[in-house]
Symmetry: D2
Subunit: 367 residues, 4 copies
């Protein structure tokens, strides 16, 4: 959840917790499916566990902020896969099954769907976990009940008909969590602030400045944006980088002579978060310029540098994606139908339209 703990102080949980939670739920799913006579071999079981434990390993610290700044071009799914392949080499091919599953190439399609689909173990864990730690009751789902409704038909995952309301609740919870937590204005604003800090640090580095920071961080500040592929050195330094390095550097940068870097860093450390204005239509170029001019004046910032302080962009909440593989229901006689079947008169059909909002993000007051 990135910097969300600046907004929801309780949301101090880590990706490590999420990995353990996913493993726990996956064990439940395996036990349940076997109980329903779905065949899962020892090797497939282990593959599932490894795949779900490692599915997020390619996320760096403050994942979105980093991907938008110093590790641009290194997508977290690609990184996860490369880490798995490196581990596979170290462990004499023992991750082969997990990699097949993670790459969605396993012949038993339901194994892949357990790890990644519109109703996967990943989402079940993070929705419930994030709901719990933020205190947003609307996001609380009953993962164990959903799992108990899973089954497999023709090698694909299905939900028993009587679980239909649990699935609806799951989708509603996802929608709620996006608006109330993941797309929370102050949280997104904090993330943008950190992105701008790292962009400025990278730009300064490319201008020849040597910034304080540990080896791994410096490596990425120096690197070129547009890599063709991820090298071994990239991977090694990426693995060495964590939240501590980013935050320790930001603390140091508060005292750096560059006004942009120090002001942005100080704003984050002192929790003077940027303000977010939301709108149903994009902000005009004129509005953007006007805001930048105000900042230039009030903050005594060079016009050419105000783009570090004033940012626009778009937030999208799409609860159920009609273009991806559908959630499928099965009735008592084994007949399968899609969740979006109008016969069921479900509200899912009103959730397949993306809802877009546009933001203008800028400093509230002189930090």
């Amino acid at each position: 959840m990135g910097l969300s703990s600046l907004v929801f102080p309780g949301a101090h949980h880590t990706r490590f917790h999420h990995a353990l939670g996913c493993l726990y739920l996956m064990q439940k799913a395996v036990r349940l499916l076997r109980f329903k006579q779905v065949e899962i071999s020892k090797a497939e079981e282990q593959g599932l566990y490894i795949a779900i434990l490692l599915h997020d390993i390619g996320h760096g610290p403050f994942s979105h902020a980093l991907e938008a700044s110093i590790v641009q071009g290194m997508h977290h799914e690609t990184l996860s896969l490369q880490f798995m392949e490196t581990l596979n080499a170290d462990f004499d091919g023992k991750l082969a099954e997990a990699i097949l599953i993670f790459k969605k190439q396993h012949p038993k399609k339901f194994l892949c769907e357990l790890v990644s689909s519109q109703l996967d173990i990943d989402r079940m864990d993070y929705l419930k976990r994030d709901s719990f730690y933020t205190g947003i009751a609307e996001g609380n789902i009953n993962s164990e009940r959903i799992i108990s409704m899973l089954n497999v038909i023709d090698n694909e995952l299905v939900i028993e008909e009587k679980g239909i309301y649990s699935v609806e609740k799951f989708l509603m919870a996802r929608r709620f969590m996006y608006w109330q937590a993941y797309l929370h204005k102050a949280g997104v604003g904090a993330e943008i602030l950190l992105t701008q800090i790292l962009k400025r640090a990278k730009d300064l580095t490319h201008l020849g400045e040597v910034l304080p920071g540990n080896k791994a961080l410096i490596y990425f500040l120096k690197s070129q944006q547009d890599r063709q592929r991820i090298s071994t050195a990239d991977l090694r330094h990426f693995a060495a980088l964590d939240d501590i390095d980013i935050l320790a550097a930001t603390k140091e940068w508060q005292n750096h002579p560059d006004a942009v870097l120090s002001k942005l860093s100080k704003a984050l450390i002192d929790r003077k978060l940027f303000k977010m204005k939301l709108s149903d239509s994009p902000f005009s170029e004129a509005k953007l310029l006007e805001t930048r001019n105000k900042v230039a004046e009030k903050w005594a910032i060079d016009d050419a540098l105000t783009h570090y302080f004033v940012v626009t962009g778009q937030l999208t909440n799409l609860t159920y994606d009609n273009r991806e593989a559908h959630i499928r229901l099965v009735d008592k006689k084994g007949a399968v139908r899609l969740l979006t079947n109008p016969f069921d008169k479900l509200i899912v059909n009103s959730l397949t339209e993306p809802v877009d909002k546009y933001y203008l993000c800028f400093p509230k007051k002189q930090p």
Copy 2:
């Protein structure tokens, strides 16, 4: 929840619990609204508490089953009002304010809305309570958060804009609870069974039989269906009747010489609940006859009496009623709009259509 504890064993809570829970939530609401500078006088406060404590007092034991059999024509809202008026006389007019609120005639409309509307304290308590005791997680709502979002504008209740997701969750919860608890097949089947027992008992009484049962019960078995008004005697006997009387009589009736009464009573006491078949369209007369014939044969029941054993009817789930007063939202600047405003892209608009199902209810096997 009538006989639901035969389906959800944990759902063993009582209307007394509900009355106390409503009072508790109402106290929260009063405190909150006063904190927001809404004026509520001492007398109005007491009126609210009395009205919510007594709002269900007109429900008899196994409310729906009784209303459909021995106390037909005595509607629970009318009864509640008559009890309040009787108490008002006993207490020298001290319930006058409560009665105004209950009758929706109080000039401060929001007082009436707290007691009865599409987002009232009554629903907040019973949804959460029934969800808790049945174990249906999908029905769990955050009553206290919803209450904290209430406000009053022009004497009408509104919800602050930021509470919009809590309201959506409330509506979804209501929809879930209808399908999963209140309209649960086995629970509805049990209620129909009890209704048929009481109908038979009444019919036998009118044929001259003297059934075992306590005084209050006998009074209603003897009474005529189509009363013009509720008499003082009606009220006194109604107040004396509780679950114990109905169940004690049903236990006795197991041994009655009348085959219909004894078989039905035995089915309920032995928890041989009737089977419910559901359909999207009404069952045909032919299907009904066919089922009755089967029962006549298997159970050795006279053809003319099979209507006690085989029943059809309709279940309706309407989550949000467009024809009633709307839930209204207020933004930070005080502007009010309806919950169904399409601007919000809420799912409520897919909940305003009633969903109908038809049932055929009959004995599974010889008890």
Copy 3:
């Protein structure tokens, strides 16, 4: 919990819930012990489940009140055993293993200990359940954690050393629940009131009165106190008797011409519970007489009948009984020692003394 719901309105749960909960915990225990390589055969497993499901079947409605009045001399453990034996005959000996376990005669002693000992499944379920429904947080124990610490050495149940604090908490919880729930003054007072009602009903019946009441209840009102053994007729009528019969009769008895029966019955139905005075020493004969005289005067009761209204007795809370088989701990090397081993510096040693309190119970005011 008898009439405790008059004091803790939420405590409306039933013995049926307790039986299901015990079964659930027992299933956990079997799974856990087998995982630890303890051998439990299919037949033994089934025996455990039957024994724990039926262990309380000999408790009648309002168990303690009935045992102290109309079913005196029929101890609930004896009754449970006789029901099991009857069922065993009906089911061609399929309860033989369960009966061995229940009678503590099974060669695998730990099977008996799971059903009945100072740390058995029965206590684990009822402490947690009663704590939950009364809202007394002090009684909340972690049954699943305790179960996960169980093991078997030399066919006897032991607790792994690291579970020592969970066991201590379990004992403390038991102690708390006795003082706060099971021995709660108002709850005990209500039970005494019901006992006196039933005693009076029995005495009147023996004087030749024919009281209203269903067949099973009348059977026990008529019966002699000091049965040598429990007959088949006793058993059949006992099985037919439930809470509903007792309460329905008490409702009727409110209108009986006998002043003692009607006043006592009315006091219970109107929730005018008797007052309990507690003391560390027994109440004197003089104090008892004085109280009875007051009651005779205020209530216009014949002196010879005041013993129905004023009662003394003793409450005892013994958390851990040194004279029974001890809870035993096992360390990592398999060495077994008793929980009361002074080496552990546990507080259990301060819980082995019974704490006695004496009560004087009498009507507060004219009902």
Copy 4:
């Protein structure tokens, strides 16, 4: 909880959470006491809130490890007070009341007791919070119920008699949490490991090495152990130091040429925690030497440096301190007695003896 999250992964909560939680409980306590007619002025209320919010502000990152190494001689209570006094100067004396309370010099003694005593808001919050995040159910207390039992007599805090079991449970919970969480072997071992890292870093700094680390950390590595008083510079640097600085430095030190510093740092970062052996009596000098020799050999460490790797010490668990001000109970008539009054037959009297354990802490295996 220092490094406990290495043992209980969920225990990732912060001192900031604790401060907010204490404030929340203190607000409840103030509301409750005022409701009971205890006079608390506006200024006293604010003093209470400030005092409880700041009572732990003198705790540095990894408090115990730092106090035992680089900030030796700077006790956290003294630091808290100095921070409050500095803030008091900045805010024109607005913390005067809070300081009086914190220093236990306020004439209304109960204000001081709410902040610090054997049953204070601080303990209520941290027991419940740590129990929740570690998952140790035995530590879960009902803070709100305890608070609801508070009252004031003669300006001193008392507990209403009927709260006696809640207080017992509170003491038991404290005892449990000490053994299971605060004195957990692996957690204490991790803390000792961090202490040794910081000691080595300090010793190297005093030998003239310049270690990587931020300004505040370097300041304390350079400082002398035995300060007479805490200077303004001490305070400023202490305020600038947080977990991030310590962990970022430890990450760097893994690559330092000094074998002791790098091996210890690597052990912590790789979670190769030291092993703890516990005993009821102190470990002999001989045993200590023997262990050090083994380490010297296996780890290729100079004999003179093995003291960084092998450490002995003592753990003490004293649940209730008879030498401090007692918890006091008040009965319905206002009579006050001490919790340890033997009349109550409480188990508290078995909790007043400290339980001591001795440890020997050393590396399990070559990291």
